[in-house]
């Protein structure tokens, strides 16, 4: 069996989530990695992807219409390449979730999103109800289309392989949608999904000023990424891409420090697979304490500065 994996690159690197998707795909068959972009972007992405051990071949699609990974042309491209592949795989990122279901519909396939376990070529485990249940589902479709949760598969190494690169015809047109702009501020902090440590803040911080003044020094000390609850994002304490949870990012760092977060099921869905969870909360009844390995009950405005100093 041969598996087609859509690989994303960002800032001159393969996204860690895509390397996890490659690991998942190697469990299903030989891996062909598809990279897309404008001509230069596709060249760069192909060169990077060729080095990932486990990739048997890189398919490179370079065209202006593919520069921004818009769903319409990329899904058409995937469909045009689909023959001969038993599975089509991407990471459950914003890009993967946007594109793969569209490609699946065009192939008359029911996609299997957010795979956390592979039982066999047809059978997969995926969370439902915000991760409160794990469903094992068997697909009767001839071709499987899946997105995989990065936190459930060890990322393939970035270096060590040397796969051949093949240019594919990217004669896809985009008439219905157009990229306008992107606001993607860069930061020196690690990417949330790839971070070893995450410091995450909630409503308890009270304002954007407090959020930054308390969490940034702590994150600096720990080399951590910063996350947030939905309320913190909705209240403008943090940008939307900081949100951890059922409908935000799914993370599983070595250490997750939840500051002033109550632990609603939708938040827990995004972080309860973290290795060690610390909760700092003034309410001894807060549900976050039920998943915390270490809970410190008290006022975060005292605790966080003290913790930052002691580390």
């Amino acid at each position: 069996m041969t598996v087609l994996v859509l690989v994303e690159t960002e800032a001159g690197q393969i996204r860690q989530a895509s390397r996890s998707a490659i690991t998942a795909a190697t469990k299903l068959g030989d891996v062909h990695a598809l990279v897309v972009g404008d001509a230069a972007g596709a060249d760069e992405a192909a060169a990077l992807t060729a080095k990932v051990p486990g990739v048997a071949k890189v398919l490179k699609a370079g065209a202006d219409v593919l520069a921004h990974e818009l769903a319409e042309p990329v899904a058409d491209l995937i469909v045009s390449l689909a023959e001969g592949y038993s599975h089509i795989v991407a990471a459950s990122t914003a890009v993967g979730k946007n594109i793969l279901p569209r490609a699946a519909a065009l192939l008359d396939v029911q996609p299997i999103p957010d795979v956390v376990g592979i039982v066999d070529a047809d059978t997969f485990v995926r969370p439902i109800y915000a991760g409160n249940a794990l469903a094992t589902v068997k697909s009767s479709d001839a071709k499987k289309v899946l997105t995989v949760r990065a936190t459930s598969f060890e990322p393939a190494p970035a270096e060590g392989g040397s796969a051949p690169v093949e240019a594919v015809n990217a004669a896809v047109q985009d008439t219905v949608s157009r990229f306008v702009s992107a606001q993607t501020p860069t930061s020196d902090r690690p990417e949330l999904e790839a971070a070893r440590v995450i410091v995450s803040g909630g409503r308890g911080l009270g304002s954007a000023e407090n959020f930054n003044a308390l969490l940034e020094p702590l994150a600096d000390k720990l080399g951590a990424a910063i996350g947030a609850s939905r309320v913190a994002v909705d209240s403008g304490y943090a940008p939307n891409d900081f949100q951890v949870g059922q409908t935000g990012k799914i993370v599983a760092p070595e250490l997750y420090i939840a500051v002033g977060i109550s632990g609603a099921i939708q938040h827990l869905a995004g972080m309860k697979d973290s290795k060690v969870i610390v909760a700092i909360n003034k309410d001894a009844e807060a549900p976050i304490l039920q998943v915390a390995d270490y809970a410190l009950v008290g006022d975060l405005f005292q605790i966080v500065p003290e913790l930052t100093k002691d580390l």
Partner: protein, 249 residues
Amino acid sequence: MKILVPVKRVVDYNIKVLVKSDGTGVETAGLKMSMNPFDEIAVEEAIRLREKGVATEVIAVSIGVQQAQDTLRTAMAMGADRSILVLSDESPEPLAVAKVLKALVEREKPDLVFLGKQAIDDDMNATGQMLAGLLGWGQGTFASKVEIADGRAEVSREIDGGTETVSLALPAIITADLRLNEPRYASLPNIMKAKKKPLETIQAADLGVDMTRRLTTVSVAEPATRKAGITVGSVAELVGKLRNEAKVI
């Protein structure tokens, strides 16, 4: 301009479901059911577009069991003009839902279909993208801002590294993310008025759509529970535990 808004009846977001002891599914009997929260946001946005004079009619549709009419009444109490219930099993798959919606789009000819980004029961996050594919329309998923002008929709989308804006030719598909708006509560008079708004019921089979599931559920299990943690008494104790016991710093 007409807007179609698919709304799903799901277990209320405040409820933590339990896995059935025989591992065949989750226990939903007797639980409070509500409109999928993302669909409330989609309904709200559609109504606002009508209030602004951009849209002329908002039609809510649900595919599911008879009780889904409650969800449609809620949509009409919020302000949808009329609704359509397509009878099928409970929680049909996105592929089947997308095919039903395609058939309704061909009948109703909306300029916009406004869905939620994700149903919080199956957590698929797929139907809008699939419908867009089946129709060959543009898609603006995970929308946090929408502007309609000159026959196009400009959609700001929440992506992993921030926000992106795309411009879609109409007709198009948009799926709502959390921060698009805050849905209104239906007032009592509007709930009363909604009872008189038209609600058409049709069978999925009458639309010629094959609803056969492609995924069979082999089993449903409870996720591993975390072992109980401890409450530490001080910052110093916490730092000590993280260093010496958990060894994560």
